[in-house]
């Protein structure tokens, strides 16, 4: 029984934090917001550290999840303008297939960048002479403009009796002429999102990661989505924790009515409630990481709990941080709005609270009800 982190895990977290405190200050984040191009420095750092390939498939289990949530937490804390989640979860996906060694190497080294199409709307491939031709729309693809390869789950027509069986995970080159992007305007400019339109992309076997009529594509994408949701939850823990602590420090300096405002009980109690939410989200994320890592039967449930709770918590905490800082917290110059907007985006993507709660209801509540009616 050990609910905590090893010295090695703590060291990795600390080194990522130090690295990002140095190279990803909010000025750097604001610079990204204007230029919308991932800095080479960031790519290089993550490549050099060998952190991106931290997840490894191992049957039903996934190794490295504990490291991954600690790294994602730091990405959230730093408002990292880089698709960390997509590269970490994407590399996991590639590693489930033997033929992508070259790409894996490039991505791990920071020389190529992945992204993931979290919500493929209607992408479907039809057989051609040489393979398949893929067309359709991929929604909510982060950093698509900067990414080199897109991982997506698409249907290959006729390769299964159900849409689910047809689902196949593929990796495609973003720069192919059949691929076009449209940036979705949003408030979180630290993590741009694109719609991707595909018009007759020639798919060959080399593009396949998992699937073709076995339902395994669906299974893999489901696991990748769990990893995405968990890392997103951990990101939110990091960003809301920093919003809380930065705000608490501010209240210790800001004076009104002759005293530092940290002395006002109303603000103390707000801060205590924020702390409660951050710590609770953190426990939920940590537990779910262990569950995924150890192949616990409640792993998927635990991920949904973590994402649902962390989403509500992060919106509330970062919103309250603005309130606690008062007028200054509502200005563009102040960093709080960056945390609030990032938390808001992350809360609604990777499955919002309603969606995960409904999954939980199906898995747990209906089971309890079923057990009790069966017992009668």
């Amino acid at each position: 029984m050990f609910f905590g982190f090893t010295e090695e895990e703590k060291m990795v977290q600390k080194s990522v934090r130090n690295m990002l405190e140095k190279h990803c200050q909010t000025e750097d984040v604001r610079k990204f917001m204007e230029e919308q191009t991932v800095s080479n420095k960031i790519k290089e750092l993550f490549g050099n550290q060998g952190l991106l390939g931290i997840l490894e498939p191992n049957g039903e289990e996934v190794t490295g999840v504990t490291y991954a949530i600690l790294i994602a937490q730091e990405a959230g804390r730093a408002l990292l303008p880089y698709p960390l989640l997509e590269n970490v979860a994407g590399l996991y996906a590639l590693k489930t297939c033997k033929q992508h060694g070259d790409l894996i190497e490039k991505v791990e080294a920071g020389n190529e960048m992945l992204t993931i199409a979290w919500r493929p709307e209607s992408a479907e491939a039809f057989a051609t002479e040489d393979g398949y031709s893929l067309s359709g729309k991929l929604c909510e693809v982060p950093f698509a403009a900067d990414a080199d390869q897109i991982i997506a789950s698409v249907r290959i027509s006729g390769k299964g009796n159900t849409p689910q069986e047809e689902e196949t995970v593929v990796v495609i080159s973003k720069d192919h002429p059949s691929v076009s992007l449209r940036k979705l305007p949003g408030t979180d400019e630290t993590y741009p999102i694109y719609d991707v339109a595909i018009n007759n992309y020639p798919l060959s076997n080399a593009n396949i990661v998992k699937g073709i009529g076995m339902g395994t594509g669906h299974q893999l994408m489901n696991k990748v989505k769990q990893l995405g949701a968990l890392l997103a939850a951990s990101e939110m823990v990091g960003s809301s924790e920093r919003a809380l602590y930065d705000t608490v420090e501010y209240t210790k300096e800001r004076k009104q009515f002759g005293v530092v405002i940290a002395k006002f009980q109303a603000l103390k109690h707000m801060a205590a409630e924020m702390y409660l939410k951050v710590e609770s989200a953190k426990s939920a994320v940590e537990y779910a990481a262990w569950a995924l890592e150890s192949g616990d039967p409640e792993a998927e449930l635990s991920v949904s709990i973590a994402k649902s709770y962390a989403s509500s918590a992060a919106k509330k905490v970062t919103g309250d941080a603005i309130q606690m800082q008062g007028g200054i917290g509502f200005t563009w110059e102040n960093d709080m709005h960056l945390f609030f907007k990032r938390a808001t985006r992350t809360a609604f993507l990777y499955g919002d609270s309603y969606t995960h709660n409904e999954k939980i209801a199906k898995a747990a509540i209906d089971a309890i009800a079923g057990a009790s009616s069966a017992a009668k």
Partner: protein, 395 residues
């Protein structure tokens, strides 16, 4: 209890509506309408609207005719506000002049001041901004450090103000400054009228988190103004300012309420088109439905609070600390409206586009509502006021 309007008032409402339909710029509120692109053009556009209102007889509706007003009652005022709200009419640039300075001058100003300042204010010739808050005097307004010293026939003002809405469009600013350094902090403050084109006044825009650029910092560097530009007497500025803030918190309730109702209606429209993962519409889903109704109920109750306030103003001529209740209520409700709207949008909440149904309106509510709980007396300050002034809990 009589919450109906007289036939005369209903006739006024009909005329107001007709005037608005004729005078609101064509296409306003539709995606086709070409909005002014720069802050400067926006200022001009809004001032144009202020002028139209004056010409139409809809400026200073309840103010005495002798100062350029219409000499009617608060009832006609709220009727006009409601109708303007229903049609989402543009807002003018002289909001603070009409909402705060006008009532303040009517209550505390000298006859000369009223005659000099009110008519051009209503005509849209002189736009006003408010110089109260300072970097170190937010919730604790009385800690303000801007100072004014008498030098011959002139006051010399030095200091910095912040959160000054519309300063960049304004001709005048009403400013609180310390005139007695020795007095207890509430007792050495005076209320000044300062031309924005005075030498030494400079304005720096402050961008808000919702990317609005309405707020500014204003710097006063040896700004000289005539001795008589004090309202309500030297060192009596705190009392005057408290009156001003009462106006800020209490009135405008019904026009605002109608605009919230419009926003809510747009949310319902979205919910009636938004398909959930299970294929049903959000509007048919009891979870979203109950959440939306909770907000709807509060929007309705805001109207009831507003009617009560107006009734009190009509019958007793003034507002009490219950204006704090009103402000606390609507700002909290507006945050909830934004949150529920985002929940309804779900995975589409964080981004939007011109082709999306909501056109970013819901996101705008979500972000903008976070400001109103801070400015004009934060939620925390309003609760202090209610506990201390209404419930008599000791400081």
């Amino acid at each position: 209890m009589d919450l109906s309007f007289t036939p005369e008032q209903e006739a006024y409402r009909a005329r107001a509506r007709e005037w608005l339909l004729e005078n609101i710029p064509k296409g306003w509120g539709t995606p086709e309408f070409e909005m002014p692109r720069t802050e400067e053009e926006m200022g001009k556009f809004k001032r144009e609207w202020d002028r139209k209102l004056y010409e139409g007889g809809y400026a200073g509706i309840s103010w005495p005719k002798e100062y350029g007003g219409q000499g009617l009652t608060h009832v006609e005022e709220i009727i006009f506000d409601e109708e303007a709200g229903k049609l989402n009419a543009p807002s003018g640039v002289n909001v603070l002049g009409k909402l705060l300075l006008g009532p303040t001058l009517l209550q505390f100003g000298s006859e000369e001041q009223k005659k000099r300042f009110l008519p051009p204010l209503l005509r849209g010739d002189e736009v006003w901004c408010q110089g109260f808050s300072e970097p170190n005097a937010g919730s604790d307004l009385a800690a303000l450090q801007t100072r004014a010293e008498l030098d011959g026939d002139e006051w010399v003002i030095n200091g910095q103000k912040v959160w000054t809405s519309y300063a960049h469009h304004s001709d005048w600013c009403f400013v609180l400054a310390r005139t007695d350094q020795e007095a207890p902090k509430h007792k050495g403050i005076s209320f000044f009228l300062v031309p924005m084109d005075s030498p030494g006044v400079s304005v720096r825009p402050l961008v808000q988190l919702n990317e609005n650029r309405d707020f500014n910092e204003v710097f006063f560097d040896n700004v000289r103004i005539p001795k008589e530009n004090v309202v309500g007497g030297v060192n009596n500025g705190w009392k005057v300012a408290m009156g001003t803030l009462g106006f800020e918190r209490g009135t405008l309730a019904l026009g605002r309420q109608v605009r919230f109702q419009n926003e809510f209606n747009e949310l319902v429209k979205l919910a009636s088109e938004k398909r959930l993962a299970d294929g049903t519409l959000a509007i048919d889903n009891p979870y979203y439905r109950q959440k939306m109704v909770e907000v709807f109920n509060e929007i309705k109750i805001l109207r009831f609070h507003g009617l009560k306030t107006i009734s009190q103003l009509l019958n007793e001529g003034k507002l009490g600390p219950e204006s704090s209740l009103q402000k606390l209520f609507w700002t909290t409700m507006h945050v909830e409206l934004g949150e529920v709207a985002m929940e309804v949008l779900g995975e589409e909440a964080p981004y939007w586009g011109v082709e999306s149904v909501g056109r970013g309106k819901m996101q705008d509510i979500y972000y903008t509502s976070r400001g109103a709980t801070i400015y004009a007396g934060s939620t925390q300050i309003q609760k202090n006021i209610i506990a201390e002034m209404i419930l008599g809990m000791p400081k």
